[in-house]
């Protein structure tokens, strides 16, 4: 029997991804390290500020792990939430686990905490890069209902290895944000098929923005996370330039005017045969169709 990764809470995912019973939590709920801001706004806070952090083993590998709870404020990164992520990453620099796992589900910065959240996200990004520079791979898993957007989308793309399910979504600006700023003609956020064609796991896989595409299944995510431990990607000038080249090429590959759907046009331009059928294919089939290589 399979268990949907998407349907699990942040803590349930944590339990199922790492080795059974191996998770040791830091700053657990009973310590009540909660948001100092939400109560002032009349909003209830969560005892863990929406993220669980700690150490565990993953197929015997010593790892540090964080799991965001999308059900609380859409996984929004507030001051304490962000500080917990930063603390985990900095501790990784000191204790040198074999990898750091981020089970990301977040709409980005928690707007209630505005600047504190923005600063927190920038600190998380810096800490991720420090951990990578120390040779410890940072692996991000994305498959929650809220996707991985805003600042956490940036954090994900700073990591060594990104695992997504077809139900997962990864981007910077979320659909509603694009519609609000550029109009419904530019992006209809209620068009779910469009949202997944442009931010979903299959799209990210085909464009080379994620490193593994899995089914919405906790066992599949666990296997991909174990595989990810071996995929440290050193931060070098060559790799950065290669990534810039990949992104520059993507800008020019799409024709100025597309006939029909932009996402399908992009997949076709990337060399995916019969791209129009991508949304109907299962994960296993889409996995074989990638033409672009990760940078």
């Amino acid at each position: 029997m399979t268990t949907s990764y998407l349907e699990c809470s942040g803590r349930e995912r944590l339990k199922r991804i790492v080795d059974d019973g191996s998770f040791h939590e830091w700053l657990p709920p009973a310590m009540r390290i909660a948001s100092p801001h939400l109560a002032q706004l009349g909003v209830p806070s969560s005892f863990d500020d929406g993220v669980a952090i700690g150490r565990a083993t993953l197929a015997g590998h010593e790892v540090f792990v964080a799991s965001q709870e999308g059900g609380f404020m859409g996984g929004g990164v507030g001051e304490v939430h962000g500080a917990k992520l930063v603390g985990l990453l900095r501790r990784a620099l000191r204790d040198r686990p074999e990898a750091v796992l981020l089970l990301a589900e977040s709409g980005g910065v928690r707007l209630h905490e505005a600047n504190a959240g923005l600063i927190a996200v920038s600190e998380v990004m810096r800490a991720v890069l420090d951990v990578r520079a120390a040779g410890i791979p940072v692996i991000v898993l994305i498959g929650g209902a809220n996707g991985c957007f805003g600042g956490m989308g940036l954090v994900a793309r700073c990591a060594d290895h990104v695992v997504m399910s077809d139900a997962g979504r990864l981007s910077m600006s979320g659909p509603e944000v694009i519609e609000a700023s550029h109009g419904v003609d530019e992006f209809d956020s209620r068009d779910r098929a469009l949202v997944w064609r442009t931010t979903g796991g299959k799209h990210r896989w085909l464009t080379g923005d994620c490193d593994a595409l899995v089914d919405d299944d906790t066992t599949a995510f666990r296997a991909a996370a174990i595989e990810g431990v071996r995929h440290a990607r050193p931060v070098t000038l060559e790799r950065l330039e290669a990534e810039h080249a990949l992104l520059t090429a993507r800008l020019t590959v799409l024709p100025e005017v597309t006939d029909g759907d932009d996402a399908v046009a992009l997949w076709s331009a990337l060399g995916v045969a019969d791209a129009v059928r991508i949304p109907d294919l299962d994960v296993e089939s889409v996995r074989t169709l990638r033409t672009s290589q990760e940078a």
Partner: protein
């Protein structure tokens, strides 16, 4: 106009328990999401069961008390502190979360 002011409401209830639960690792169930709540069970010593609620839905004190009393009638726990962060859960959902917490406590 309502005389209910904005902000969170904090409620506290205490009951005399009959089932001492001793020491245990804190139990957390639920999520602070719309129509949902988080329940934290911790050992507290003594013979009481104390319930602390913080809720965004103000003015429902009597209903909370009824739900807490009903729960305590089913599980007269002693030496427990129950802390709840609520975002407008219905009484039925609250009761289910409390049951879930107790079942994790005893499993």
């Amino acid at each position: 106009m309502s005389d209910i002011t904005p902000g969170l409401e904090a409620l506290d209830f205490s009951f005399a328990g009959r089932l001492p639960v001793g020491t245990f690792d804190p139990v957390l169930v639920g999520v602070v999401g719309s129509g949902n709540l988080e329940v934290l069970l911790e050992p507290a010593g003594g013979s009481e069961c104390h319930v602390h609620v913080e809720t965004s839905a103000r003015g429902f004190g009597p209903i909370w008390e009824a739900v807490a009393r009903d729960f305590h009638a089913r599980h007269p726990l002693a030496g427990v502190r129950i802390s709840i962060s609520d975002m407008g859960a219905t009484p039925a959902v609250v009761s289910l979360r409390l049951e879930q917490a107790v079942s994790e406590l005893t499993s």
